[in-house]
Assembly symmetry: C2
Homo-oligomer: 142 residues x 2
DNA sequence: AATAATAATTGGAATAGTTCTTGATATTGA
DNA sequence: TCAATATCAAGAACTATTCCAATTATTATT
């Protein structure tokens, strides 16, 4: 007899529309999963997980949903090297620390009041639309 | 009658060995090209360019050469989103600014004396091996 | 210099993540 | 209700990269 792992979080309610994007059943479940499992899953991981609730969903649809959510600024797409894209619902400007030992990805926030131009020699006239910071290393067992 | 574009730079001399890596003809030309054309070419762009001098070189060999050079710390591999990897001979710790209008990639240096931990809330105990900073935006015509 | 051992190169096949295409299904608006 | 539009599913297609097996080049040893 197979028993499903219990949902750790109470059901997250998701409205019928977010930022102008209609929440279909598929988009809703994809988004809900990202909210609940904040370990930056790949499209395929999302696919496997969401199948619990929508057994007929296809991988192509997961890609479609993820793209729609990214396009509407509801989630973020994160890339490490040329590995599979990963997705996260943390919209605040942040970077990522990739623990080489465990593979776990930690969100890394900016300290308040930090200005990129204080830190980097930007090309003159540069207007920054998007910043991507990725760190790789180890967590010394504290 | 086809005339080759003249080499802008005088021939760059490359020793028989760099950081313990034997410089074969193929590796030498790949490396020379990266030194001369500092526009962060892709493997395929390197391939097409290097063919001028080594008409029989294969794309697989270009990939092999690039990997060997990266492995020995002679060049760096740079990834933007999930686009083709690009390669650059600038070894100093630096980031990249990607001009959305022109597609041109500019190297961006750190201001002297900047410490990552001053700027980011790193996870406690994090030891950083590698930093990757990518900016995307536009260059306001100065 | 000849030979054996090792390393590098080539060309094509294989792989993996993602995108595209087509037909079916659902939703919205008139 | 009907037409127009959007979304979905399934699998084919695409692309950057890696792998593989056979050949060629280089190095070390006699």
């Amino acid at each position: 007899m197979v028993s499903k792992a219990p949902d750790i979080f109470p059901e997250i309610e998701i409205p019928d529309e977010i930022s102008g994007l209609r929440m279909t059943a598929q988009r809703r479940e994809v988004y809900r999963l990202l909210q609940q499992e904040r370990n930056h899953p790949t499209a395929n991981e999302v696919f496997m997980r969401v199948k619990d609730r929508l057994p007929n969903i296809s991988l192509a649809t997961v890609y479609n949903c993820l793209e729609a959510l990214v396009q509407h600024g509801i989630i973020r797409q994160v890339n490490f090297e040329r590995e599979s894209s990963r997705y996260c619902p943390n919209l605040s400007e942040h970077g990522h620390f990739h623990d080489a030992a465990t593979g776990v990805i930690h969100d890394v926030d900016f300290k308040p009041g930090v200005n990129l131009a204080d830190v980097l020699n930007l090309p003159p006239g540069a207007v920054i639309d998007d910043v991507e910071i990725t760190l790789r290393g180890k967590l010394a067992s504290a």
